[in-house]
């Protein structure tokens, strides 16, 4: 113990080491604060829209109730969905700055609504956000390099190496002590702000421990690399330059090359194709016999097939039926589009096993539920909610039940998951 405190005193006497550790702590704390501010803002926005949404619904109900027409009610009622940030979202904002976390849908064709985006400034999204995952993935290795590159070579250059090696009882345990001390302090500088933020955000303990484990593993990887390079017995300068080069390749160059390769090998043109096809299918309904549309609709939804037949007059049930048939006609394209995105995501995760920078980023965004999988899960929740909306309005539409003012309050409401 006294040896360790002695080493600690020695380490902290070096101005650079102290500065580096303080800087890591400062950056980690700032990134946690920035992430928490962003998550708080997103929570505020979600809270803020609720009364506005209710007011909008009431305004529609005000005039649409007079018609008592369920079709009018369904056509004009927009229903809000939202994706509440998880407790850990502050640590890795992931896709939450570019993908919508609020989306309004109505009971019409979903495929024309699901891919709508949120208004955001792309110039702010371009460089990426300043969150804990950024500090960990990009900056931490540089601090590891700063603190470890001269662990042995520094002593050699100071002419103390032979003496240290000759000291009885030191040898390996000396270096182990120094590595553990520097690594431990780095871990503390990173994990302390993170843990404080996590406790304030009510992150479940297993998740927090996983993140801390990830931090420790990533640190261990980079310390391992620096020690390996250190074994080459080069000068401190050569060590530092080599390590910075390795960092450059692993965190900046290889991920960008992998990105191009993945997008090239796995195309996802179906996104645009499916919306074009869906529009074509929906609008074609105006040019074909209405009975054809109804037949196609009842084939998939026999529960409504006893609905009274259409007359010459316009009936909203036909309108909603062709929207649904339009959605169903592009189902294979929808699946292909989604598979393409998932395949890209899976490929990137695979690369994460080779590139620790990518691996840690992927693991963190997964734990924080801010990655592509979380995005797709939100889309699934919207899909399920939309299904409920359809069924709700169909119960009136296909049985010609008048839609009263109270019925507006009976519409399903979205349950925002955390």
């Amino acid at each position: 113990m006294t040896l360790l405190t002695h080493e600690l005193r020695l380490l902290l006497r070096s101005r650079m080491a102290l500065l580096a550790l303080l800087l890591v702590a400062l950056l980690a704390a700032a990134s946690v604060a920035a992430g928490m501010a962003e998550v708080a803002r997103q929570r505020d926005v979600i809270a803020r829209i609720q009364p506005k949404q209710a007011q909008d619904m009431a305004a529609v109900a005000q005039w649409a109730a007079e018609t008592k027409d369920p079709g009018t009610a369904a056509y004009y009622s927009f229903h809000a969905t939202w994706d509440t940030p998880s407790p850990l979202a502050f640590a890795a904002l992931g896709l939450r700055d570019v993908a919508p976390y609020i989306l309004r849908v109505r009971a019409l064709g979903l495929e024309a609504q699901l891919y709508d985006g949120e208004a955001f400034n792309p110039e702010l999204a371009l460089p990426g956000r300043f969150d804990f995952s950024f500090v960990l993935v990009y900056l931490t290795p540089l601090f590891v390099i700063a603190l470890f590159h001269d662990l042995v070579s520094g002593e050699r250059e100071a002419g103390r190496l032979r003496m240290l090696d000759a000291l009885t009882g030191s040898g390996r345990s000396l270096w182990r002590r120094r590595v553990l001390l520097r690594g431990g302090l780095l871990f503390l500088a990173l994990a302390a702000p993170l843990t404080i933020g996590a406790i304030q955000s009510a992150v479940p303990l297993p998740t927090l421990l996983s993140v801390q484990g990830l931090v420790a593993l990533y640190l261990a990887f980079w310390i391992g690399v620096t020690l390996l390079v250190g074994r080459m017995r080069w000068s401190s300068v050569a060590n530092a330059a080599t390590l910075a080069g390795i960092w450059l390749v692993l965190t900046l160059i290889l991920p960008t090359i992998a990105h191009v390769a993945i997008n090239r090998l796995i195309p996802v043109g179906e996104g645009v194709e499916l919306t074009l096809a869906q529009r074509e299918a929906v609008n074609r309904a105006w040019d074909i016999p209405r009975a054809d549309t109804m037949r196609a609709f009842y084939a998939g939804h026999p529960e409504w097939k006893d609905s009274p037949p259409l007359t010459d007059a316009f009936h909203y049930k036909w309108y909603f039926a062709f929207h649904q048939v339009g959605d169903e006609s592009v189902a294979p394209k929808v699946a292909a589009y989604r598979n393409g995105i998932e395949a890209r995501d899976t490929a990137a995760r695979g690369i994460g096993w080779l590139l620790p920078s990518v691996g840690v980023q992927a693991a963190l965004t997964r734990l924080a539920n801010t990655d592509m999988a979380a995005q797709l899960a939100y889309q699934d929740r919207i899909r399920a909610f939309h299904e409920k909306l359809r069924n709700f309005y169909y119960r009136y539409l296909f049985t010609d039940t008048p839609f009263e003012k109270d019925d507006f309050d009976r519409a399903p409401t979205f349950v925002g998951g955390a």
Partner: protein, 480 residues
């Protein structure tokens, strides 16, 4: 031969003899060429896809059968944002914005299917483009090659020797700087070659390209000076390297991330949901189309009847429903424009705040210059959105006018079995609606937009050059 060129030649010879230096340099050259090639093929792939989809959408629009014009208002049109030529060099925000848009009546849809929402997380690690290599990686190479330029002489004691022998510190610094600047020029050469390849394409604009060459040149020169300055000021080579790495991290990696965060928290954007609701409320206030006694629409009806000198809308020579649609679209479009302008004012304030960080980070200043000159910045996206909205409005109003002029009011109201056929007008009309043509920014627009960034960079350069003087004086004293 004077002292400066002698020193520069000596330094260059030393670099040439150093295997690591040569390898690093060769790797960067390869990376630049690979980036240029990949980016070029990637961007031309995107351009080709978008052109294909655009042609398909146009074909589908004109291939629609005889229809009621209002059906075409809702069939709408898809448009795709074409890429500017220089996007192959700096794609800017292209991957982060939707690039296709569905245009229809009385709705303003978002631009969808941006790359960022359909790519893996790797897209957030940056994109391998010549711009990325020059902005981020080239300075790092200059750091590696130049950190020891002066510090090494000091460590070995050769610095004092030279000063004693009458070489002025200023000549020494300028000589070392000249050597590093030559390396910087060589680093920029492959990118320049890629750039000239783009310039050979039809439609390339000379003005913005000249600004870009100037900007990237100034940036690399600036880093050369920074490296030499730090190398001269710091006692040991290792400290110089670490200090420069720290500086690079802060200026190139950290600040470009911190600035947008501050901007996003300072100027908050309303969500689309809120904007949509606000527009609905405003519309409701202006006139309630669902209320038969609404004062606004009653006044409109009176005005139309007076204009045509008739008492009943049934007696009008035009279809009243068509006129109503034109009037309604006018109302909503005005609101769309109004809210879009507000949203862009906020976004511009955000971007401006980020740009101001260019005062402390030349990388931010260069990025601003580069995207603005390439036409791939926020303004480039806004240009697309504004033209899309103008096109949407013209298309919808042309269809509404067709409804007023060619569909009889009595047919429009009729609900009998044959009414549907009588409401339809010939598909030939769809041909008369012009296709969307994106008007790219002019040379003047792009150059003007890139000037603030260039100004900042040149100010940085001037400042760094001036800093050489006091540093030379300090170095001179090292003799004593």
């Amino acid at each position: 031969m004077n002292a400066i060129t002698l020193i520069a030649r000596d330094e260059l010879r030393l670099m040439r003899r150093n295997r690591v230096t040569v390898i690093a340099f060769a790797l960067l050259t390869l990376l630049t060429l690979a980036a240029a090639l990949i980016s070029w093929s990637h961007q031309s792939g995107i351009a080709e896809t978008r052109a294909r989809f655009q042609a398909q959408a146009a074909q589908e629009f004109t291939a629609q059968p005889d229809r009621h014009p209002h059906r075409m208002v809702h069939f709408g049109n898809f448009i795709f944002r074409p890429l500017p030529l220089l996007a192959a060099f700096d794609p800017g925000v292209d991957a982060f914005t939707g690039n296709s848009m569905f245009l229809e009546g009385h709705r303003q849809n978002s631009a969808n299917f941006g790359d960022v929402r359909q790519s893996s997380l790797l897209v957030r690690f940056g994109q391998l483009t010549p711009a990325f290599v020059l902005q981020v990686i080239a300075p790092l190479l200059l750091v590696f090659l130049g950190y020891g330029a002066v510090a090494r002489e000091r460590e070995r004691g050769t610095l004092r020797q030279m000063l004693v022998q009458g070489v002025s510190a200023r000549a020494l610094l300028l000589g070392k700087l000249l050597a590093l600047a030559i390396v910087a020029a060589l680093v920029g050469l492959p990118a320049l070659a890629a750039f000239l390849l783009i310039a050979g394409q039809p439609g390339a604009l000379a003005g913005p390209m000249a600004v870009m060459v100037l900007g990237y040149g100034a940036y690399l020169a600036l880093w050369s000076i920074i490296v030499i300055l730090v190398s001269a000021l710091v006692r040991r080579g290792r400290d110089a390297l670490l200090a420069l790495l720290a500086l690079w991290t802060v200026l190139v990696i950290l600040l470009p991330r911190v600035a947008p965060d501050i901007a996003a928290q300072t100027h908050m954007l309303p969500t689309r949901l809120e904007t949509d609701i606000a527009i609905q409320q405003d519309l409701h206030r202006l006139g309630d189309a669902h209320n038969p006694d609404d004062p606004f629409f009653t006044a409109f009806r009176q005005k139309v009847l007076r204009h045509y000198g008739v008492d009943r809308i049934e007696d009008l020579p035009v279809n009243y429903n068509g006129l109503l649609a034109v009037e309604g679209e006018k109302l909503t479009s005005r609101l769309f424009d109004d809210y879009a302008k507000r949203s862009f004012t906020v976004q511009q304030a955000q971007s401006r705040l980020t740009d101001d960080f260019g005062i402390i980070s030349p990388a931010i200043a260069l990025r601003r210059l580069s995207m603005a000159a390439a036409g791939t910045d926020l303004e480039g996206h806004r240009r697309f959105l504004a033209q899309a909205e103008a096109y949407r409005y013209a298309m919808v109003q042309q269809l509404n006018q067709l409804q007023a002029d060619t569909v009889r009011y009595a047919d429009d109201k009729a609900k009998d079995a044959g009414a549907d056929q009588r409401k339809r007008i010939s598909a030939d009309h769809w041909q008369t609606i012009p296709q969307f043509r994106f008007k790219p920014a002019t040379t003047g627009d792009l150059v003007e937009a890139s000037l603030p960034g260039l100004g900042l960079l040149l100010a940085w350069l001037a400042f760094a050059l001036l800093a050489l003087l006091p540093v030379a004086r300090i170095l001179q004293k090292a003799r004593a």
